[in-house]
């Protein structure tokens, strides 16, 4: 499976993503934000970081960058687009995903392990995933997902909520919500479920010496579903 990771000035999880993708067998390439086009890919990843310093709203300048039109075209033609952390923020800014990511409820940056519940498996990311709850890692200051009542209803009606923050046993409540996100939302899909944005970083959880290994399941599953 061919993948492309877009590097914006200020991206800082681009290498980690490259390492993770290659570890599981993706043929990955790095693409510079000033390029006009993206090499032939089956998956495009917008990595975490602070694109353009995040000096306006997070992700907003990246959503106007040169490369982004190609990303949008690719997504609209059904290609898989994955945005992690800052990548998720960029996807909401482009309009490919609904809603926004506000500052965390307690106004602090949060870096720690969290559990997320996989809410939908009828998609190319989570289909046939063996687990329902994954232990992943978050590191963000603006991960507090918010959207309007109408948008939330349509996300729920179309099963576009991808993952939600929960406890180890899958309980979703206020205490298992690290950042105040509406309905504990940690990640969502677009309407066709080819575009996924999520705050947790699977690429930081790819071997047992790191924070955990559940990120491996995520990447392997994408590959399995592609075959």
């Amino acid at each position: 499976m061919r993948s492309s990771v877009i590097i914006f000035p200020g991206s800082n999880c681009d290498r980690d993503m490259d390492v993770a993708l290659k570890k599981f067998g993706f043929k990955n390439q790095m693409v510079w934000h000033n390029d006009q086009s993206i090499p032939k890919s089956d998956l495009i990843v917008l990595p975490g970081g602070f694109s353009y310093g995040d000096y306006l709203r997070c992700g907003s300048i990246a959503s106007k960058s040169k490369i982004i039109k190609s990303v949008i075209d690719f997504a609209n033609s059904g290609g898989l687009v994955l945005g992690i952390c800052n990548g998720f923020q960029i996807l909401t800014e482009t309009g490919l995903l609904k809603g926004i990511l506000q500052q965390n409820k307690f106004l602090n940056f949060i870096c720690r392990n969290v559990f997320v519940k996989v809410k939908d498996k009828q998609n190319k990311y989570f289909k046939d995933l063996k687990k329902d709850v994954l232990e992943l890692h978050i590191a963000h200051n603006e991960g507090n997902y918010f959207c309007s009542d109408d948008e939330l209803k349509s996300l729920e009606d179309n099963n576009q909520i991808a993952v939600t923050y929960c406890g180890e046993d899958g309980t979703e409540n206020e205490t298992t919500n690290p950042n105040g996100a509406i309905k504990n939302i940690a990640g969502i899909f677009n309407n066709n479920k080819n575009v996924l944005g999520m705050m947790p970083h699977p690429e930081r959880m790819i071997d047992k010496y790191l924070s955990g290994e559940d990120g491996s399941l995520f990447f392997k599953n994408i590959l399995d579903n592609f075959k």
Binding site: P9, G10, N12, R15, G53, N108, C111, R204, L210
Partner: protein
């Protein structure tokens, strides 16, 4: 404007220093020249009070590639890999403006590391605040933590360990020490020594503004009531630009275009240009009209003194300008040829086609004043005789809960949750352990790092305190299974013009030197921060040691959490029960006098090497050094982290249980041993004549000791984990 003695004094120079300048120049300097002298001759840049003593430090070793004197120290970790590291203070700015002060401290130390061609792979910090009851403490802590996080998180370098303490002596002078480790190929290290004539001098990075003018002088003075007025001397950080600068510099460093490179830190363009020329024994000519400026009508004086962040000065090979410019254009950074190297041995500044300053370089560097300041020895305080009857009113279980929730012992998760500690995907030991550990990307190796200081011990007896911190750093690295290699130090002290403060400095340095020599743990970089004093009240002497060690196979890394029920727990090293200067004495007896625990370097080395041997042979599964709070505190942390209890044996020949459990004797570790390894462990300990106590066995969910203690781990965890969070929320 005619420069007078009064103007010189306003620039932080002493009367005698101004006369010396006039004498050396054989004329009165103009204002720009005076500014350059003041920037180069202040304490921060010239080390004029400390240099004499720093020379004695132990700085050489088999693995040392570069010792003090460069942007950072460099050590060899095998296979052509080298680690570049340094710690630096940003105390004065952080007290005035905590967020920007701390942020630019982190930015500055990272630049020191990538200037040498290394990609930063880990950050650490040691931060010290006033009493929790002091009205400024909470906001200063919040601002500093946000500043450190704001900068490091954005750059994408993990913050893997740190230290936070509270003491009333920091009420008017907090300490913010930031450390960075970088990884470089040992054949591709870049230095700051300029060579060759007529080579282009290049300015890259951010534009120059009026921020930070006189920053280095401010850092060389004490504070008074008017510190608010000093706000404009604090620099403003832009981590995004630094990230671009990092990537652009590393890209340019991939080929052979750079002759020398130096970051513009304290005293900005002045010190970077003078240092590069001085090291190469050259002259340098700068055309200040070519310097990219952010504000209009900046004068030569302002351009030379600005401490705007995220800037670098490069001496480039001739003909490589276009190639280099392309890289900086790609990263949207300023790039300007602003001068050239010359054979005049002077720094010459041109502005509007006129020469506005001309000073022989050696007057600024080698001829800077060196002082042999008078200092006073601190006598070893008399050992206290504790009234054991007083202990009878205490309960062991209350004592341990109180100690675990002490501000200096309690869990600092509230802080490090705000630092990205996992980015770069190689952090295998997070903050909260004895040392942070990151893998050397793509290899089996890992690097461990720890920051330590013991101001109470250093205040009580600086010589012992100096030795003790080096040993503590050594133990922390061994506790994670790393072989200690070298240290960097950040020497935070009061006013060197006072004999007591100067004496604290001299004796701490002596202690550090003695221990680092004995343990073969050389100092490769560091910085000195004097004048940590407000309204005549100075801080306790606080040398901070940043230690770096190597784990050759990262699968052998150790952590402190208890692993398996039934495993045996030993205390390695002898416990005499030294309570003077302990947390126990302070917290429960309100006793602040007495000497710090004695340091026995032979024991430190012998026991340290023995523990390392046990870990290399995979005979132990967890390890933690015994430091503040003694054995019971160390064991409690191991229980809390492992979510497992311990049953402590009835100890034979115990003179006093309080002394045993809370004494802060040095050179001790606690280890967890699987039963199958027991015989081998005993053999090794006996062979090396290492004293050990069979403390107990991992068991259940409580700490149990005879009828004295029966405490569920959860109750201990509650005492330990929430003090800081509650404090910050209140």
């Amino acid at each position: 404007m005619e420069v007078t003695e009064a103007i010189a004094i306003d620039h932080g120079l002493k009367k005698e220093e101004f006369s010396k300048i006039c004498e050396l120049l054989k004329r009165t300097p103009n204002l720009t020249e005076l500014a350059i002298f003041s920037a180069m001759w202040n304490e921060h840049c010239s080390y004029k009070s400390s240099r004499k003593h720093l020379k004695k430090m132990h700085t050489k070793g088999k693995q040392v590639i570069q010792g003090p004197g460069e942007n950072a120290g460099v050590i060899d970790i095998g296979d052509d890999d080298a680690i570049v590291f340094k710690i630096e203070s940003h105390n004065h700015p952080s007290f005035i403006e905590p967020y920007q002060g701390a942020a630019t401290g982190v930015g500055g130390i990272m630049r020191d590391v990538f200037t040498m061609g290394a990609r930063p792979i880990a950050n650490l910090n040691s931060i010290h605040f006033g009493s929790p009851q002091h009205k400024k403490t909470r906001n200063l802590l919040r601002g500093v933590v946000k500043g450190i996080g704001g900068y490091g998180n954005c750059i994408g370098v993990p913050t893997i360990a740190g230290q936070t303490t509270f003491d009333e002596s920091y009420n008017g002078n907090i300490l913010v020490n930031a450390m960075t480790l970088g990884l470089v190929n040992k054949n591709k290290i870049f230095y700051s020594k300029a060579t060759g004539l007529d080579k282009p001098v290049i300015y890259v990075g951010s534009k120059t503004g009026r921020d930070g003018i006189h920053g280095a002088s401010m850092a060389s003075a004490t504070f008074d009531d008017k510190i608010e007025e000093k706000k404009p001397t604090v620099q403003v950080g832009d981590p995004f630009t630094e990230k671009l600068l990092l990537e652009a510099c590393l890209e340019l460093m991939a080929d052979n275009s750079i002759i020398a490179i130096q970051d513009m830190g304290a005293a900005g363009l002045t010190s970077s240009s003078v240092e590069m020329a001085s090291k190469g024994n050259l002259g340098i000519e700068l055309n200040l009209n070519e310097v990219p400026c952010r504000e209009e009508k900046m004068t030569p004086y302002e351009i030379m003194l600005s401490e705007s962040q995220e800037r670098m000065l490069i001496v480039l090979e001739k003909g490589k300008e276009e190639h280099a410019k392309k890289i900086f254009d790609k990263w949207n950074l300023d790039f300007a040829v602003i001068g050239k190297t010359t054979n005049s041995k002077n720094i010459e500044l041109i502005f509007d086609n006129k020469k506005v300053a001309e000073i022989p370089i050696d007057l600024l560097a080698e001829n800077a004043p060196i002082y042999d300041r008078p200092w006073k020895k601190t006598k070893l305080p008399q050992k206290l005789k504790f009234d054991k009857d007083e202990f009878k009113s205490l309960k062991l279980s209350d004592c341990i809960k109180k100690i675990l929730s002490n501000s200096n012992i309690s869990d600092k998760k509230w802080i490090w949750d705000q630092y990205d500690h996992t980015v770069m995907g190689d952090t295998i030991q997070k903050p909260g352990g004895d040392a942070g550990v990151v893998r050397v990307h793509g290899t089996n190796k890992a690097v461990a790092a720890s920051v330590d200081s013991s101001a109470l011990y250093c205040f009580s007896h600086p010589l012992t305190g100096g030795k003790q911190i080096v040993c503590e750093s050594y133990r922390n690295l061994i506790s994670v299974g790393a072989k200690p290699i070298a240290i960097t130090n950040c020497l935070n002290f009061g006013n060197p013009e006072k004999e007591k403060n100067m004496g604290e400095f001299v004796e701490c340095v002596e202690g550090i030197t003695e221990a680092s020599k004995y343990l073969d743990f050389p100092v490769v970089s560091g910085n000195v921060s004097f004048y940590n004093e407000t309204k005549d009240k100075g801080i306790k002497p606080t040398p901070t040691i940043g230690g770096v060690g190597l784990i050759s196979d990262y699968q052998q890394m150790l952590t402190m959490d208890f692993k398996t029920e039934g495993n045996l727990v030993y205390v390695i090293g002898k416990t005499d029960g030294h309570l003077d200067q302990s947390i126990f004495a302070r917290e429960l007896l309100n006793e602040k006098k007495g000497p710090p625990p004695t340091v026995n370097l032979f024991n430190e080395k012998n026991i340290g090497e023995t523990v390392l041997d046990l870990s290399r042979k995979n005979l132990i599964v967890s390890c933690h050094d015994v430091s503040l709070g003694g054995i019971l505190t160390a064991v409690s942390k191991m229980c809390i982290k492992g979510k497992k209890g311990i049953t402590i044996n009835t100890l034979r020949g115990l003179t006093n249980k309080y002394e045993y459990f809370f004494g802060e004797d040095q050179a001790r570790y606690i280890i967890e041993i699987p039963k199958a390894s027991l015989k081998k462990v005993n053999d090794i300990l006996n062979k090396n004549s290492v004293h050990f106590d069979e403390l107990g066995a991992v068991n259940g969910q409580s700490i149990v000791y005879k009828d004295d203690i029966n405490l569920p781990i959860e109750e201990l965890a509650d005492a330990h984990k929430y003090w800081l969070k509650k404090y910050m929320d209140s």
